[in-house]
């Protein structure tokens, strides 16, 4: 157990180091002057230039610069946004939870709708119900996410007018970002009508969640169905049946767990797609998450924001992926103890 944890720990740290190196090198890859990109200040004369160079360690070798970057990241000094002048850590600290919240609900939707549907389709494999579910999921899966989001806006916001067009919560509610998760913050907020606030927040959440969740749900259905069909034809299921074990017991004791095991690693892959989709949908719904924040940074050529933002998003993805894999390793007895960790 300790060994598994330490393996995953080492993998995690190494991956982060590589990512940090990549984000560090971005400064040199952006077009234009390195110093200007990094500081946003156009030096008026050589003396000022010298001073800035020294302040940002640009006069030193790359390796020293990198360790300076790393240590300031670790100390919580992530630099300042060129556009707003605010500390990046604060900005990301507000934008990131909004994205995580949206993705989490979409993932929950995929888990609680996709997996049961997949089990049902798999158990009834090659029946009409199964074909219907499968066809629907393939169709949904093939939708481009932005198109789906636009259709939802067109239909529910503009046509039926039952859901708001954009944003996270109506400005009438004065909610301080404590955790960054709007549903939790409403609970913590004082002096507002909680019921109304929840209704408003959920109506804001519904469309983007569905837009992101639909595609992940569809692929969850397909993965689960495939896995269940695979498991119910295994010899041990046949053997259990020939011992007279009832169908219910076979499902709960043998099919359920064995079909779930191959789903988990595939879920880790889904996380990447999910967060990418979330970032696309955010911009369409003006959801104040990391996706729309990064798009803004690109428009404004806010290079410090871009490089830290990119690092933050990839750290999130890597963390989730490794956690799912670790969880899978812990619950799956047949995976060898000394198998190597992978991303």
């Amino acid at each position: 157990m300790i060994q598994i944890l330490s393996r995953y720990g080492v993998l995690f740290i190494l991956t982060l180091l590589v990512l940090t190196a990549m984000s560090f090198s971005l400064v040199y890859l952006f077009p234009g002057d390195v110093l200007e990109n990094l500081t946003g200040i156009v030096p008026q004369n050589e003396i000022q230039r010298e001073a800035l160079m020294r302040q940002f360690r640009l006069d030193q070798p790359y390796i020293v610069q990198f360790f300076y970057y790393l240590s300031s990241l670790l100390q919580g000094d992530w630099g300042y946004s060129l556009a707003s002048g605010l500390p990046l850590r604060e900005e990301i600290g507000i934008a990131m939870p909004a994205t995580i919240e949206l993705s989490a609900y979409a993932m929950l939707m995929a888990l609680f709708v996709g997996i049961p549907l997949g089990y049902y389709a798999g158990l009834k494999s090659y029946s009409t119900t199964d074909h219907t579910i499968n066809a629907l999921s393939i169709t949904t899966y093939s939708f481009p996410v932005f198109w789906l989001a636009l259709i939802l806006i067109l239909f529910f916001s503009l046509h039926l007018d039952i859901a708001p067009l954009s944003g996270r919560i109506s400005l009438l509610f004065d909610i301080k970002p404590v955790t960054g998760f709007v549903l939790i913050d409403i609970m913590l907020a004082e002096g507002i009508d909680h019921g109304l606030a929840y209704r408003d927040a959920i109506s804001h959440l519904a469309l983007p969640t569905v837009a992101i969740g639909a595609i992940t749900t569809a692929s969850m259905v397909r993965i689960t169905r495939r896995s269940v069909i695979d498991v119910i034809h295994r010899p041990y299921i046949v053997a259990a049946r020939s011992r007279g074990v009832s169908e219910w017991q076979i499902f709960f004791r043998h099919v359920l767990r064995n079909a779930l095991l191959p789903i988990l690693p595939l879920m880790a892959i889904q996380i990447t797609t999910l967060i990418t989709n979330a970032m696309i949908v955010e911009t369409l719904f003006s959801w104040p998450g990391i996706g729309s924040w990064l798009i803004q940074a690109i428009y404004q050529r806010d290079f410090p924001a871009l490089r830290v933002g990119m690092l933050a998003v990839s750290t999130l993805v890597i963390t989730l992926t490794i956690m799912v894999d670790l969880f899978n390793r812990i619950i799956d007895p047949s995976r060898e103890k000394y198998e190597r960790a992978t991303v």
């Binding site: 046949v238 053997a239 049946r241 011992r243 007279g244 004791r253 043998h254 007895p333």
Partner: protein, 331 residues
């Protein structure tokens, strides 16, 4: 009346535009209290018969049979529920491949306890029942010769050596105290001492509990010493069937004779270092089966009549499928 009675069991699979007949009118009976051996080369369809009996055939096979009955009840027309009851209480199977027949994500103990019929478990509260289940599991495991029950009951299938897996499958079959045990190659690859242990266990259960056994194996020597009767299969056709001692003394079918001759320990008169007599060629593949008697191309006694399928013939309870059996010497 035989306990298990199968008549003219045929299994077909559609493969493109041809139908493959993997089993062609197979007859098999197991009487109460006997050990019946089912022998045949690899690929002759032994495991298919076993799957057909327990209703575990993959869906691509089309099965037809004139009769397939268990204690006089027709297995083919039974409801799903009745069939499951028969499999749960009366018939137990040890499949050929123990490692894939065990759920990789559950411990051996869990899987063994699951096979214990509820009627056997005493106790009112669930913990009493769980304890009793555990006791039954441990004693069954001891019976098949696994001593470290603590270690193996908590192990997962990938953590155990294959002979323990085989013994475990036998334990799972025996725990429901069946009337008929179907064992498909249960001793394959076992060490001689372990094998003797298992064969002794089977013989003892047969004598003390009058457990009937259908024993599927390649191991002629083991079979000959323990079983009462034998059915010989060749390329999906039954060739000969009868009491062990009759067949051993005087086989009627050319294939049975060749099979017995190829096992040197059956022949006391064999001069040292002489070549063993065998049939030329090898067992045909399912795609290229000869018509009529499937032994035809390899048979030293084959004649023109052999292109039509020989019907079953009887001498008392000894049956054979051959136009020119060995006791008719008018070739």
């Amino acid at each position: 009346m035989p306990m298990l009675d199968i008549k003219n069991l045929t299994l077909e699979m559609v493969d493109g535009d041809t139908t493959i007949k993997a089993l062609d009118k197979v007859n098999l009976t197991v009487n109460t209290g006997e050990i019946r051996a089912l022998v045949g080369e690899s690929g002759s369809g032994k495991s298919l018969i076993v799957s057909a009996i327990c209703g575990a055939l993959p869906s691509q096979w089309r099965m037809t049979a004139d009769r397939m009955s268990w204690n006089g009840e027709n297995l083919l027309s039974m409801s799903k529920y009745q069939r499951r009851e028969v499999m749960r209480r009366d018939i137990a199977v040890v499949f050929q491949n123990p490692q894939t027949s065990l759920d990789p994500s559950a411990t051996l103990g869990e899987q063994l306890e699951e096979s214990i019929p509820d009627e056997f478990v005493e106790g009112y509260w669930f913990w009493q029942r769980a304890q009793h289940r555990k006791r039954i599991a441990i004693s069954t495991v001891h019976k098949v010769g696994i001593k470290q029950h603590k270690h193996y009951l908590n192990a997962y299938p990938h953590q155990i050596p294959s002979d323990i897996g085989q013994k475990f499958m036998i334990a799972m079959a025996l725990v429901s105290q069946p009337k008929l045990l179907i064992a498909d190659d249960p001793t394959r690859g076992m060490e001689p001492t372990t094998k003797t242990q298992i064969l002794k266990l089977f013989t003892r259960l047969n004598q003390t509990r009058s457990l009937s056994i259908l024993f599927v194996s390649h191991d002629l020597l083991a079979i000959a010493s323990m079983s009462h009767s034998m059915t010989v299969l060749y390329a999906g056709q039954t060739v000969e069937s009868g009491k062990m001692k009759h067949i051993k003394k005087r086989p009627l079918h050319p294939y049975t004779k060749a099979l017995l001759d190829s096992a040197p320990s059956f022949r006391k008169d064999l001069p040292p270092k002489s070549q063993l007599p065998t049939l030329g060629g090898s067992i045909p593949t399912l795609q290229h089966l000869p018509i009529g008697c499937r032994l035809g191309p390899r048979c030293p006694r084959a004649q023109r009549a052999c292109v039509s399928r020989p019907a079953v013939r009887y001498i008392h309870d000894h049956t054979y499928n051959c136009h020119f059996p060995l006791h008719m010497e008018k070739l």
